[in-house]
């Protein structure tokens, strides 16, 4: 077990190194630079060159990379060019909306997808099953920004139940801030539920045909107990996997949804950093996201131990 954890940890370091290097190279070979963005449309080339020098962007790529790695080893992700604050602090500022948005979206998605998926599998081939599969396919095909705009038009503009966008003004309480997350969470939850539903259904179908289910039924066990205690428990591993992957995707920033709803989360931080070519933020945010990905995957693997005693590392 300890050896497995050590292996995973080393693997994580290797992944991070690759991510760091790839991101560093990609953002720098991509055209555009932060100096032009900061100085605005009427800046002269000389102004841009002077700012590039001040930001250290005129140094050879290798020098910049070595300096960046050195910083990283000291635990320093650098300073945002535009926000005038350390990258880690910029990411920490954005963690709250992203964390709660992920939590709410997953809760909504699971609340819809898991019971419906179980029932659809249980009533395989029925009208309910067919309708569910069709709706899930449609939900998976809906662009989240479109669904977001639709929700804004109906629930925010027409009925005035929720705010259109933002994350609350100065001094907004946690309740107010969370209230701003309801619409984006519904939009993301609906889209994410499609994948979870299909996995739940497929996974349940696999186990519902197994011998031990037949045995449980032949012993006179109630259907609810058979489905929930025997079938669902054994179908959990793939469902947990897909939940984990969905969570990782959401944590890495529901980029489009955050932009449509003007949420100051990690996704919008990355988008604005890319548009402005705020290199330290792009690098730092993607590094943190990659770390979260690896950690979430690791935690899911650990959860397998809990739900399935046969699993050993």
């Amino acid at each position: 077990m300890n050896r497995y954890i050590l292996q995973r940890f080393l693997g994580m370091l290797a992944v991070m190194f690759v991510v760091v290097t790839v991101v560093f190279v990609i953002v720098r070979i991509a055209p555009g630079d932060p100096a032009s963005v900061m100085l605005g449309p009427d800046a002269t080339p000389a102004d841009v060159a002077a700012l590039r020098t001040r930001l250290g962007l005129d140094r050879p790529l290798v020098v910049q990379y070595v300096l960046f790695l050195g910083q990283l080893l000291r635990g320093d992700l650098g300073e945002s060019i535009f926000l005038n604050k350390p990258v880690l602090s910029a990411i920490a500022d954005r963690a709250e909306p992203t964390f709660f948005l992920t939590l709410f979206s997953l809760a909504i998605a699971s609340f819809i997808a898991i019971p419906v998926g179980i029932y659809a599998a249980y009533r395989r081939g029925s009208l309910f099953d067919q309708a569910t599969t069709t709706v899930a396919m449609l939900a998976a095909s809906i662009p989240s920004f479109w669904l977001g705009l639709l929700l804004i038009q109906w629930l925010a503009v027409r009925f005035g139940v929720f705010p259109v966008s933002g994350y609350g003004g100065p001094g907004a309480s946690l309740a107010t801030r969370l209230y701003h997350l309801v619409l984006p969470a519904i939009a993301l939850g609906i889209v994410s539920s499609a994948l979870i539903l299909r996995f739940t259904r497929a996974s349940m179908l696999d186990v519902l045909g197994d011998d031990y289910i037949r045995t449980a039924r032949s012993k006179g066990m109630g259907e609810f107990r058979v489905v929930m205690r025997h079938a669902f428990k054994n179908a959990l591993i793939p469902i947990l996997t897909v939940l984990g992957l969905t969570a990782a995707l959401l944590v890495s920033g529901a980029v489009v949804t955050e932009t449509v709803f003007s949420l100051p989360g990690v996704g919008s931080l990355v988008v604005s950093a890319v548009l402005r070519r705020d290199y330290p933020v792009i690098q730092g945010a993607l590094l943190v996201v990659a770390a979260l990905y690896v950690i979430i995957n690791f935690l899911i693997d650990m959860l397998y131990l809990v739900v399935d005693p046969r699993v050993r590392y």
């Binding site: 055209p31 555009g32 449309p41 002269t44 080339p45 954005r94 005035g160 100065p170 548009l275």
Partner: protein
């Protein structure tokens, strides 16, 4: 100087509820309240000297002030200066008296030392400051309340440059002007309380503010500070801005797509506000290198294009654009038709073909650099490409994001035409294409003669005629093609009064009815 009656307000058609929006008498305005202003995004910086971005100017003009600004007729008027400067007979020495008792947000009093340090920083850092610095021999404090600017030669645009709100000559305390700026401390009617990037910028009333006497007059005159707070909220998605206006979540919403106009009409929580005209799209030619360095090839492009079709594709209805060859629209003192006859909206690909043949550039690739950041740029590029193909150009559309465009345009090897736009500026000398250093690199004896004559004429009454000469040279040498005039759409809640439609909207005279 006989200045044509031109006010932003008069030039503006607020298509709905204009009376309620902009002309409420002072006594009807209540003190107190907060407004939420939805903007296109997060400003790249809060240092108005270092950036020419409009968004930076819109926000920072509430907490930083300049020595001069523009009144409702776009005439330069004093702001932190007590009066207009005393200019020597040879036009080389500007003596500026400062207002007394003006305090910064940190409580310190503005002195001539702060002004001298700020102007030096402006000349070092700001692109417009650098433009002026080439003409400035020295800046010095005469006494605690007087500053003297000495020029190497007369330079007429100086006051406009000192008055402009982006790459702005704002006055900062001498001890708080590091670069990058750590803490914005100005003299403006509002001060920065909190900035949460991508969430809000919260400004609160500066209690120590000393307003000019009298009534508001454009960006000049009295600044009333009626609101307790102004919050600028970045809402990057244009559709969300529209919905935010209709729902009443935002009291003022900037930069809306013109297609949203019908949706904004007859709403309870908001009304459309049209700024007509707002600005002009332009195709800038790379005169330094490549196919467009040849005058006949540039003439061929102009002859091929249908500005009308391009504007229609970009803005739809004629309610939102106007065909206009002049670089300044009617109502501006600079408006003139000089040089434009037969040189606009020609749409004659056959004639263009002849010019292209004369240039020897048939079949050579014509690289048009554009961005979808501004969708109307892209739509114009698409229409232009079709007309140019008919004229025999091998058009290559290079569609990139805005950051890439602003970088690529600095390299003459990478493009032949790039597309941009500008609001109508109060002073022609602020126009980018007139500078030899700006991408396009227009540098000819004709340009030098006309622009130098315009820039060195100190008598305001003679300058419009000299601008007409500059426009003639622009049309003769085609360093750029002005496509037309376009309008800007914003939305404003009916409960908000005291906001005059402006290219860089300001809220220090705004109030909200309870």
């Amino acid at each position: 100087m006989k200045v044509l009656r031109r006010t932003l307000l008069a030039g503006t058609v607020a298509l709905a509820g204009v009376a309620a929006l902009s002309t409420a008498p002072a006594w009807a305005q209540a003190k107190g309240g907060v407004i939420n202003v939805a903007t296109v995004g997060e400003p790249p910086t809060l240092d108005p000297m270092v950036s020419t971005a409009d968004l930076v100017g819109i926000i920072t003009q509430h907490f930083y002030e300049t020595l001069f600004t523009f009144d409702k007729n776009w005439k330069v008027t004093p702001l932190l200066a007590e009066t207009m400067p005393d200019i020597s007979a040879d036009g080389k020495v500007y003596t500026i008296k400062l207002r007394q008792g003006v305090t910064f947000h940190d409580g310190s009093t503005m002195t001539s030392a702060d002004v001298v340090a700020s102007l030096k920083r402006w000349m070092d850092l700001a692109s417009r400051g650098k433009q002026a610095a080439g003409f400035i021999a020295g800046v010095e404090a005469v006494d605690g309340a007087t500053v003297k600017l000495t020029l190497k030669e007369p330079y007429a645009p100086l006051l406009a440059l000192l008055a402009f709100n982006n790459a702005a000559a704002v006055i900062m305390p001498a001890g708080k002007m590091e670069n990058p700026l750590k803490e914005p401390v100005g003299t403006g009617p509002y001060k920065l309380k909190e900035r949460k990037a991508d969430q809000y910028i919260q400004l609160v009333r500066h209690d120590g503010y000393k307003s000019r006497a009298g009534e508001p007059d454009g960006y000049g005159g009295a600044r009333k500070q009626l609101l307790d707070e102004i919050r600028f909220v970045p809402v990057p998605d244009p559709n969300t801005r529209v919905e935010g206006a209709i729902s009443g979540q935002y009291d003022y919403v900037d930069a809306l797509p013109v297609e949203a106009f019908p949706r904004l009409q007859n709403q309870k929580a908001t009304q459309p506000v049209m700024l007509k005209p707002f600005g002009w799209p332009v195709f800038v030619m790379n005169t330094k290198q490549g196919i467009m360095s040849n005058l006949d090839a540039r003439l061929a492009v102009r002859t091929a294009l249908s500005e009308e079709d391009m504007l229609t594709a970009a803005f739809g209805s004629k309610d939102f654009f106007a065909l206009n060859a002049a670089y300044f629209p009617k109502g501006y003192v600079w408006n003139t038709d000089a040089g434009t006859e037969g040189a606009y909206n020609i749409a004659d690909p056959e004639k263009a073909k002849g010019l292209l043949k004369k240039a020897g550039s048939e079949g050579k690739p014509l690289r048009i650099l554009t961005s979808r950041q501004y969708e109307f740029h892209y739509k114009m590029a698409q229409v232009a490409a079709e007309y140019l193909k008919q004229a025999g150009f091998a058009v290559e559309l290079m569609v990139v994001d805005w950051a890439t465009l602003t970088q690529r345009r600095t390299d003459p090897a990478l493009w032949d035409i790039y597309i941009t736009h500008s609001p109508f500026l109060p002073e022609p000398a602020l126009t980018g294409i007139l500078s030899e250093a700006s991408p396009g690199w227009w540098s000819t004896p004709g340009r030098k003669k006309a622009v130098d004559a315009f820039n060195s004429e100190p008598d305001p009454s003679k300058r419009p005629a000299l601008w007409a000469e500059v426009q003639k040279v622009i049309y003769a040498e085609v360093p750029a093609i002005k496509i037309g005039d376009f309008n800007a759409l914003s939305a404003q809640a009916p409960k908000v009064t005291g906001v005059d439609p402006a290219p860089w909207p300001y809220f220090w005279n705004a109030s909200v009815s309870k």
